[in-house]
Amino acid sequence: MPRSANAVDFWRGVALVEIFVNHIPGNFWEHFTHKTLSQSDSAELFVFLAGWSLKHVVGPPEDPRPTRHLIMRLFLRAGTLYAAHMVIVMAAIALLAISSKLLDNPLLLEWFNASAVFTAPVEAHIGLVFLTYQLGYFDILPLYVVLLFASPFIALMHRHRPSMLLPISAAIWFVCLVGEITFPTWPTEGEWFFDPLCWQFDFVLGFLLARSTGPGPWIRANLVPIRWIALPIVVFAGWARWVGWEVDPTAAPEPHLLFVNDKSFLTPTRIGQFLLLVALASPLWAPLEKHLPTLTRALSLLGRNSLLVFCIGSLLALAAQILRFAIRGGIVSDTLIVACGLGIMFTTAAVADWWERQG
């Protein structure tokens, strides 16, 4: 039976909806996702909740999952994600190729970074398999795949040296920020949009804060004062985002990445503001569940079928971008496109739930 609505699935559902809307750049509804008033966006939330969910695989401290089972399960999950990524990338390439033909427009391939598949197919396919070549807007799953392949090591480190996990994760993040260390792309020249070496910190924080031992309980016990500290900072960050105020990166002290807002490297500004936002938003679940049960159940439905919904949502967002280009619409067409996309995502999740109930 599918699990009942809960806070983690609900927030994951929120992230999935926002990722879908944000992956249709230029659409009217993009202005209504929380990135408009926040230094961070739904990507931080999605990865944080992925780390949070790791606690269910690891098991509670009093009844941990056997190590062999733990490792196998995490590697299998990583393999499933990798396969899902490959499937949606191939589907995306086909969708782009078909659209390019139908609209007589080769720019569609260039627009989403797919041109290498057709102009340098040998290198591009090697890059696709090794994740060094990523289509535009299909760059979160490669990060997620790398994090899940790393998750057995994270879980084992936590099991055997629990006090070391946070310092090691933070140290890797800090060194990569200072040294600007990231993964290169190939055959396209550049860098990964999401640096896994930095984003692992978000994943590990999600895992550690979810646990009933370690820093999680201390933070939960002190949430009230933390929220009082968080409130003015989050409000200020929202105002800065709204008016477009930001630190000139060239004026920031070195190493620059420690003082500026950058998504690729998950800079301290982003992760710090995100954690404070989590502290402020976390109490919303209870009143929302009480007063808006339909909404919370619907978003939880998306959240508990996250991989399937994410994959469908990625392809729908791509199709929506192409459709917006083809019809050159406005607010009305944007509304219809987004509503249809969300409708398909909810239907997919409902069908997956129904299928699970049959089993």
Binding site: T185, W186, P249
Partner: protein
């Protein structure tokens, strides 16, 4: 590789070889533009200069160029991607010059996101010049051209305030968008802002249009050529030549130092 593409590469290589030969004798010169790329490819000369590039060249014999915009395929192409052609052209034209190319392209990135990233990447790599491919993704995503124009304008001004030269690389050409008002409005917006801010604009659209016209002539061998690849090669050709011309014109000792330059 198609015959024409090979010809284009060979002619470019020959140009580089020829320039290298003359440079070695202390008299820099450029080979003729390959026939396929003969259409005027750049706006802005002769008024456009590259004071920051010249300063870096004279002081350090090293220039750092940041490329923002579409991701560029380097592998599988003879000599690497088209920016590598620019790099090699300049290094061959100016003997002893070290051109450091920092590629940070993300395909599909809108001008607003590119502008944010330019500021960060400037802090990371301290470039003397930015190549910015801009407009195509915004036009495809239906962004208001006036909004994109304002972002590009403010970014150019910010770069100039930080003593960094700019070259805009205009929109791609494809026949199906010849009559698309949104696309053409964006093209005009980028052209206008380049003109009003006095920066070099590589006329990628016009180059592509000319190549397409040549390709449609039945007797021409260019018909068998991949238009996009040839357009890229010509774009590199025009970009390199515009830079070289600007550098030749302005090359002289400078007395102003620029702190903090050099890629890391």
């Amino acid at each position: 590789m198609s015959t024409k593409r090979r010809m284009c590469s060979i002619s470019l290589a020959a140009a580089i070889a020829l320039v290298g030969e003359t440079s070695a004798r202390g008299q820099p010169a450029m080979a003729p533009v390959p026939t396929e790329c003969a259409t005027p490819g750049a706006d802005g000369q002769p008024a456009v200069g590259f004071p920051n590039l010249v300063r870096a060249m004279n002081l350090r014999h090293r220039i750092v160029v940041l490329a923002i915009g579409s991701a560029v395929v380097g592998a599988g192409r003879p000599g690497g991607g088209y920016y590598r052609l620019v790099e090699r052209f300049l290094e061959s034209t100016f003997k002893g010059l070290d051109v450091v190319l920092v590629q940070r392209g993300f395909s599909g990135e809108l001008a607003r996101d590119g502008a944010e990233r330019i500021r960060l990447e400037v802090a990371r790599s301290s470039p003397d010049m930015v190549f910015w491919q801009v407009g195509t993704a915004d036009a495809m995503a239906g962004i208001d051209p006036a909004e994109t124009q304002e972002i590009v304008r403010s970014t150019i001004r910010w770069l100039h305030e930080h003593q960094i030269d700019v070259a805009l690389i205009g929109l791609h050409y494809t026949p199906s968008l010849r009559d698309d008002p949104q696309y053409q409005a964006m093209r005009q917006a980028i052209s206008d802002v380049a003109r009003s801010e006095g920066v070099l604009r590589i006329r990628r659209y016009e180059v592509g249009e000319t190549l397409d016209r040549l390709r449609r002539q039945p007797s021409d061998a260019i018909a068998a050529t991949d238009l996009g690849s040839l357009g890229d090669a010509c774009m590199a050709e025009h970009l390199a030549r515009s830079l070289a011309t600007g550098l030749f014109a302005r090359r002289r000792p400078v007395d102003v130092d620029k702190p903090g330059s050099g890629a890391r």
